[in-house]
């Protein structure tokens, strides 16, 4: 039964065929998208760069020759960039290069976990609201509307100030505020998908509601979800950095890029390299994520696509 349904599911999803796709020979949405994506060299370069950053950050503890980011050398103190310390050292003699790499570890971790939290909540919530429809949908989306209009960054600040400034609280706070748009996107997709023939077919074959939602409908919403996920990661990294900059985010001895910029900004007049390097690392990463997300949108979202020549 599920095998039959799976074959049907492989049909290109209905609503994304805006008339343009149906006229092209039968290539799948994905190979089509991949072709467009490869043509956007800057987006591919961004993707490669991000994978590189990710690998370096993940492998940091095992990179030979990389100094311990917490090792202090008070006799050295703050020194400008040199051959032995590429990015210089801070006022405690800690190697800025190592601190930037380990900072990236935390920033990326927060970005990915926060995104994952928002993804799970947003997709689940949106899919259920869209599929159920009617009163349930109305109430669930009304809740989203109300939450949307909250100046949530204040709530995040309050949450972090009054309860705990732990990294766990940070994940919760950031994930909780980021799922709203995802829920809206998925709901819209589901609304237009649920009356398609392949859903009808799955139901006729006896699939249950949850099976229909998560096995048949959700996979067909992947395009917009992937695009939005790529744009959520930098948004969360940015928010974490913002909170850390205010002293509310990641707490010492851990340090994210936001913490490093914050510390560096305080000593700006004396040791400018302390703000320059983490600032560049953070900005470049955000830039690449945004570029990749833009490229993916052009490749995956036929509504917004430039003409393929």
């Amino acid at each position: 039964m599920s095998a039959g349904a799976a074959v049907i599911r492989d049909q290109p999803p209905g609503p994304v065929t805006s008339g343009e796709i149906t006229s092209t020979p039968p290539t799948s949405l994905w190979s089509d998208a991949w072709k467009r994506m490869r043509r956007n060299r800057l987006a591919v370069a961004s993707g490669v760069f991000l994978v590189g950053v990710g690998i370096i950050a993940f492998m940091a503890p095992w990179i030979p020759g990389l100094s311990d980011p917490t090792a202090q050398s008070l006799s050295l103190g703050a020194s400008p960039p040199s051959a032995s310390h590429w990015f210089g050292t801070d006022e405690l003699g800690r190697d800025t290069f190592a601190r930037v790499i380990y900072g990236g570890r935390i920033s990326l971790l927060v970005g990915f976990i926060g995104t994952f939290v928002s993804l799970v909540i947003g997709v689940g919530y949106g899919a259920i609201a869209g599929y159920r429809g009617g009163k349930t949908d109305e109430i669930m989306m009304r809740v989203v509307d109300v939450l949307y209009s909250l100046p949530y960054i204040f709530l995040v600040i309050l949450l972090l100030v009054f309860f705990s400034r732990s990294i766990l609280m940070l994940f919760v706070a950031l994930g909780l505020v980021q799922w709203l748009t995802m829920a809206r996107i998925v709901r819209g997709q589901v609304l237009s998908l649920k009356n398609q023939n392949f859903v009808e077919a799955a139901r006729a074959l006896g699939a249950g509601d949850s099976q229909i939602i998560f096995r048949h409908i959700v996979p067909n919403t992947l395009g917009p979800v992937i695009v939005y996920t790529t744009l959520t990661v930098p948004a969360i990294i940015l928010q974490e950095a913002f909170l850390s900059f205010l002293g509310l985010g990641v707490q010492p001895p851990d340090a994210s890029w936001g913490t490093l910029v914050s510390e560096g900004a305080r000593l700006l007049a004396l040791f400018p390299w302390l703000v320059i390097f983490p600032g560049i690392a953070l900005s470049l990463t955000l830039f690449c994520f945004n570029f990749l997300g833009d490229g993916l949108r052009d490749a995956l979202d036929p509504q917004d696509r430039r003409e393929v020549t």
Binding site: S149, P151, A269, S283, F287
Partner: protein, 294 residues
């Protein structure tokens, strides 16, 4: 609007009462009798629900009582004193963003897929990607500490306003440019634009008189969220440049556990944002006749 404000008020109120650690926590030991007296004078000895309703009643009248940290000053006074500063900062930033961002977006749309378009959009994406707390120090480093052109901090005189406004507006210049480009691209394909060309209007008139009227709509609907983000951004910018605005008060109050001040500022901002969103909605329906028809 009213329900949302009520949700915010209730959430913040209970969050603070539930939070561990009271407002009178300090390094010095306060005698129990004095603590009782303090609590009594702030009404903290009464039952929670009673406190809650008193708080709601007073909040409606925009009265949040005295600040916990600076008992000589009313929260209302502090807000009314600091808000104009934040308002001015935000206003200049938004104005700059529109004045620069819209023409860039129109240019990119008219010259779609040209080198200029790509350059403008890559620059815009870079502008969106550089966080203001990185940009701020970078600008200070360049213009204050290296070139000695502008003061690095404070809010006195016109020259001191340049760097904070620039820091705050860059991301919005970029974002508004992107929105304008998207809006214009859609509009420029429409039939009425072709008609305008067909009757022999010069390109400048077609683009700016006919196209921009609808092409700017995404920017108009972005103004509401933009205001919210500018408020968030101004918290950082005010901290970097030591601007005596509401954002800095909020951060300090949060660290000081100054309950009344935090509540007052959050509710005030929420109210302000909602009024702003309402205005944007009205403006939107005025600008786009299709919205009324639908």
């Amino acid at each position: 609007m009213i329900p949302t404000l009520w949700v915010i008020a209730t959430l913040t109120f209970f969050m603070m009462r539930l939070a561990p650690g009271g407002p009178f926590l300090s390094e010095r030991e306060i005698p129990p009798a004095a603590l009782e007296q303090l609590k009594k004078s702030y009404g903290l000895d009464r039952p929670l629900h009673e406190q809650y309703f008193t708080f709601l009643g007073n909040a409606v009248r925009f009265d949040f009582g005295p600040s916990y940290k600076f008992p000589a000053r009313q929260v209302r006074e502090i807000i009314l004193e600091a808000f104009p500063v934040s308002l001015e900062l935000g206003f200049w930033a938004l104005l700059l963003a529109i004045v620069i961002g819209v023409p860039i977006g129109v240019f990119a749309a008219v010259k779609q897929n040209s080198g200029g378009d790509y350059a403008a959009m890559a620059a815009a994406l870079a502008g969106v990607s550089i966080p203001n707390f990185v940009l701020g120090p970078a600008l200070v480093l360049t213009f204050s500490l290296s070139l000695f052109l502008l003061p690095p901090a404070l809010w006195q005189g016109a020259s001191s306003r340049v760097l904070p406004v620039l820091t705050l507006s860059t991301a919005y210049v970029a974002y508004i440019a992107r929105l304008t480009r998207g809006g214009m691209l859609e509009v420029l394909r429409q039939d009425y634009i072709r008609t305008a060309y067909a009757k022999g209007l010069p390109e400048k008139d077609v683009v700016y008189k006919h196209g921009l009227k609808l092409g700017i709509l995404p920017v108009v609907s972005y103004l509401g969220p933009a205001a919210a983000r500018i408020i968030t951004g101004s918290i950082v910018v005010e901290s970097i440049f030591a601007v005596p605005g509401l954002g800095r008060h909020l951060v300090n109050a949060a660290f000081n556990r100054d309950y009344t001040l935090v509540l007052g500022v959050v509710l005030f901002y929420a109210f302000f944002l909602m009024v702003l969103n309402l205005i944007v909605d009205v403006a939107y329906t005025r600008l786009d006749p299709r919205v009324e028809l639908a």
